[in-house]
Symmetry: C2
Subunit: 235 residues, 2 copies
DNA sequence: CGTGTATTTGAACCGCCTCAATCCCTGTGG
DNA sequence: CCACAGGGATTGAGGCGGTTCAAATACACG
């Protein structure tokens, strides 16, 4: 991936409503301090206790932000998809590690100090970054709602609905339109506070209940969106 | 509470490292668009589906951000204490309500558009607001870790540790130093995804195990901080 | 076409929820 | 000063759901 194409990709990701030329221009300043890097599945993009001197944006692939507890359990707090920023914190050092979960995960890195200076001088950049901070807040709040559900089927159902909102639709092997989950059952479990077996059982249950259909373990189509939404309804 | 004292209070809350005169001056611009209001316990500071046109800061008291699901269960996603900002979102309308949980909860309100314009013109304000967004992100991530724990005792233990970091210490009735929880067992339960009975049992267990001491149901002193921290350790 | 990993399924145990009763603390009125 | 009321907190008993441990199956990659 060349730097130019990554800039255009970024512009498309984070300024979708702005004409191509304008948004590329607006990001030009930021782009000068941007470092793009490609990661393989399982590689550590941010390590624990690293200085928190950079902000990041996923351009393609997927990553997750997590901690590993002393008992060996891993807790995933954020799943990062293309267009998602991460690395925002008041801490000096990272309390959470970030790891690529797909091969060819491309991530842009912005030195925090310089990005802040650029934002101070350009209100479009400032607006874009603020918007991305709000996206992060919305994402975490949404995740909190999912994790806070009581039953495993509800957790997994809400999770799949969110994924269907965040991932692109594609034609699956079975002919349906659906999504391709970038993560394993274990990853889902560590995100929802469940065991992998329970996640698997919940998915089987949703399938046999007609809420979803599968074309391979990672390929999910939402069949009864209405039914799933009613279960997670919050009003 | 007069406007002047509320400005000083705000300055003390969000710019603790800056000399009094400087921080008050830095917030002067923002202060011109600030509206201060006092709320009683249970009153709605933000309603569901309200336009998301303002940002807020708790100056005193406490509030929480929550949704009520169709099954009647309430889910609290954020506990807001003095110095905490809230209202940050990309949405046009509120997906979460915010309610005062103590009498005499004083909240500052900033019209979003005007606050953004002020931030664009003043990099101290800009920095302060960015810092508060990061605080919100850190708080939600921390909350995700607590809610994601597997056992009830661990959840409640982590919750109490967080409270002891966020609330001021005071001399309790039993002579120990400790914290005064601003919320009921039911509130804690709706924050942790537990039943109120389980919260109560967990607290009793922590007490009989020597991890904490109580001087009244809301008065908690952390006796064995090391032990509690080891349980929630994440590295 | 084989090997290692991911996923599914099964059985038994443990912990949390539900329902219910009791206790405690505070404020109110007699 | 006491009786009472009401909300919050605690404690108890039983049922259900999720975890754990174990095994079988499906899948992807060489």
């Amino acid at each position: 991936m060349t730097e130019v194409s990554s800039l255009q990709l970024l512009a498309r990701r984070i300024l979708p409503d702005t004409p191509v030329a304008d948004r590329t221009a607006a990001l030009g300043l930021l782009h000068r301090v941007t470092r793009i890097k490609r990661w393989g599945s399982g590689e550590n993009i941010c390590g624990l206790d690293d200085p928190a001197d950079d902000w990041f944006c996923v351009l393609s692939g997927a990553a997750h932000e997590y901690v590993v507890r002393s008992d060996g359990r891993r807790h995933i707090v954020d799943l990062l998809l293309p267009g998602d920023f991460f690395g925002f914190t008041t801490q000096d050092r990272r309390r959470f590690a970030v790891q690529a979960v797909l091969d060819d995960t491309v991530v842009a890195r912005y030195p925090r100090e310089r990005a802040e200076a650029i934002a101070d001088a350009d209100r479009t950049i400032s607006r874009v970054l603020r918007e991305q901070m709000f996206e992060t807040i919305d994402r975490l709040r949404q995740q909190l709602l999912v994790v806070g559900r009581t039953s495993a089927v509800e957790k997994v159902g809400s999770f799949l609905l969110r994924m269907s909102e965040r991932l692109p639709y594609a034609r699956l092997a079975n002919g349906d339109d659906g999504i391709s989950l970038p993560i394993t059952r274990y990853d889902i479990a560590d995100q929802l506070g469940l065991s992998a077996e329970t996640v698997s059982r919940a998915i089987s249950e949703l399938k046999s209940g007609g809420a979803i259909a599968l074309g391979g373990p990672r390929m999910v189509s939402i069949v009864d969106r209405r039914g799933l939404e009613e279960r997670r309804e919050h009003a």
